[in-house]
Amino acid sequence: MVDATVNEPSGPRPKRRLSPTNIMLYGTLIVVSVYYLLPLYVMIVTSLKGMPEIRLGNVFSPPVEVTFEPWVKAWAEACTGINCDGLSRGFWNSIQILVPSVFLSIAVASVSGYALSNWRFKGSEVFFTILIFGAFIPYQVMIYPIVIILREMGDFLSAVTGTRIRLMGSISGLVLVHTIFGMPILTLLFRNYFTSVPEELFKAARVDGAGFWGIYFQIMLPMALPIFVVAIILQVTGIWNDFLFGVIYTKPDTYPMTVQLNNIVNSVQGVKEYNVNMAATLLTGLVPLIIYFVSGKLFVRGIAAGAVKG
């Protein structure tokens, strides 16, 4: 490289790997990832150890003897109250809560978002503002009123249908609560997305004779896939991770997984089985994690698409 000094700059600019910027950037990234990954590492290692090994107190050391016993116990045998069938009961409860809640909330919110952006009516802006305002009210203040509403609605429905319907303390009641609490943010999400769809497209569909539902199902819905993915991710993680509503509006038989996890981990009787607790926690967190890993790319694309216009 004798000529390097005489050579005029030409071609791509040479890159310096160990520039101060890069050291700062990667240094920070490494520190932050260790900060977040270390607890996860401890959890995984602990869940694979037997109790005698845990008592030695080497939190960071990998298991000498790998055992899956704690995982099996957490899933199928751990006791909460009188039920000793592990987290599996809570898992199925959570699924039963999750699927209808996600479906209902997204169905209602996407239609209202579409109506609010394309079929403006007198007072639609006021309606939208009130709805968004709902997103800023701490939901703790609504807990007790909702208890009463669910009870009264259950009684009312029982009287009307002649069969005994309980909303308070049942999965259907919790589904209703999750659907309603998902409305503000989901409607905002869908409204902003549909507002970013060119208005001429909507006009063209009207000239072509499509009505409210025709335009929604045939034109808007196929275009809105990315935002649906965002909504599904938000709702699945939000509802799956919910603890407060689950513990208040259901009863022990129908507790969601998070509530059951708490009951297993916080049980005061007998020995603290750290390995079982770790396994149970990992099992509970698995669903949102899988959702993130599977749809991460779509999620980012959808968020970006929704943010074009607001």
Binding site: P198, E200, L201, K203, A204, A205, R206, V207, D208, G209, A210, G214, Q218, I219, P222, M223
Partner: protein, 376 residues
């Protein structure tokens, strides 16, 4: 035409037609306090190609949206084919619309785009197929039928958008600046195609644009709009040669018309620098017009060299700046203390500082009242 009644334009659609294809009666439209259209009246004959021309914000697209039924009017009526459609849904009005952004349904194939309107109207499947095939043939988009809009070029997309109106067998085609998103070359090609399509189909077409070339080349009649009112309605020839207001005169023609200030007395224009121009052969609207006025001369009506000598009026000017454009050269000078520009044959060589003798014919000029800006 009186000075005060600019909006009450006498309508002279071809005598052959019986009922007008589209009739707009006393149309008002306001958004809150903003009046976009004011007492607008317009009759469009069967098979006519009408262009709504104006700068942005003049209400031309709004008017088209009202005709389409995409906007509710505040007052007045819209009749299509003799039927009052003021309260009808867009799909029930017998109109097809082509948008600037094409507005093709991105998730449907070209065929799906063309047949969507027919499916909504519950047309039998066999007939849908037939009509789509016919439209595709007319527009030469048969090889594209199974593609999605994303895989089409701008020109192809616009053709599909026209096809969507075509398959529905509508009485009236509405075009909302359909060529504005295309590049210059394609725009010229599609302009000719739209004209050819109109010759073939003989439908009534209403076409909104801000491009005067499109307006002049396509229109049977042009309606020049300004601030929600029609300034002048007439044939392209009429609009170009006999603009009724100074606004129209300035708007049509590129480069724009030259204007001189002065006053009119006994059929003579007295320019402010003292020179006089006898308006021989000028078609007066008002024979005993007098007072302050503007004289307008189109840059392309100015002659030079030998031809200048044969013109009734001659002047000497000095070339200040010139823009060669190939076919012709645009020369900027000063005349009677006012900026003056004219068009020169591209083959004539000029350079800065040259003195050129120019000539023009007052018969082809336009005179406008200085206050009302109406044609004299």
């Amino acid at each position: 035409m009186g000075h005060a009644a600019k909006s009450d334009i006498a309508i002279d659609y071809p005598a052959t037609s019986t009922t007008p294809s589209v009739e707009i009666k006393h149309l008002d439209l306001s958004f809150g306090a903003v009046e976009v259209l004011k007492d607008l009246n317009l009759e469009i004959a069967e098979g006519e190609f009408l262009v709504l021309l104006g700068s942005s914000g003049c209400g031309k697209s709004t008017l088209l949206n009202c005709i389409a039924g995409l906007l509710d009017v505040s007052d007045g009526q819209i009749h299509i084919k003799g039927r009052n459609v003021t309260w009808d849904e867009p799909s029930d009005r017998g109109i097809g619309m082509v948008f600037q952004s094409y507005a093709l349904y991105p998730q449907k194939t070209v065929e799906g785009n063309l047949s969507f309107g027919l499916k909504n109207a519950r047309v039998p499947a066999a007939e849908i197929k037939e009509r789509v095939a016919r439209a595709a043939e007319i527009l030469q988009i048969e090889p594209l039928l199974h593609r999605k809009p994303g895989a089409l070029s701008g020109g192809q997309r616009q053709r599909v958008a026209i096809g969507r109106a075509l398959v529905r067998d509508v009485d009236v085609f509405l075009f909302d600046e359909p060529l504005s998103n295309l590049d210059a070359k394609l725009r010229a090609d599609l302009r000719v195609e739209i004209k050819r399509l109109h010759q073939k189909l003989k439908n009534t077409m209403i076409y909104v644009t801000h491009d005067q070339i499109e307006a002049m080349t396509l229109a049977d009649r042009i309606a020049i709009m300004r601030a929600g009112k029609i300034q002048q309605l007439g044939s392209p020839d009429d609009i170009y040669n006999r603009p009724q207001t100074k606004y129209v005169a300035e708007f049509i023609g590129s480069p724009t018309m030259n204007f001189f200030e002065g006053r009119v007395e006994n059929g003579t224009f007295h320019q402010d620098d003292g020179t006089q121009i006898a308006m021989r052969g000028y078609g007066w609207t008002n024979a005993d017009a007098a007072g302050r006025a503007w004289l307008g001369v189109r840059p392309e009506h100015v002659a030079v060299g030998d031809q200048a000598a044969s013109m009734p009026e001659q002047r000497e000017v000095t070339v200040e700046l010139f823009e060669p454009m190939g076919a012709d050269t645009l020369v900027y000078t000063t005349l009677a203390g006012k900026p003056f520009h004219f068009r020169l044959d591209g083959q004539v060589r000029v350079s800065d500082g040259d003195t050129v003798t120019i000539g023009f014919d007052p018969a082809r000029a336009s005179l406008f009242d200085a206050t009302t800006e109406a044609r004299l």
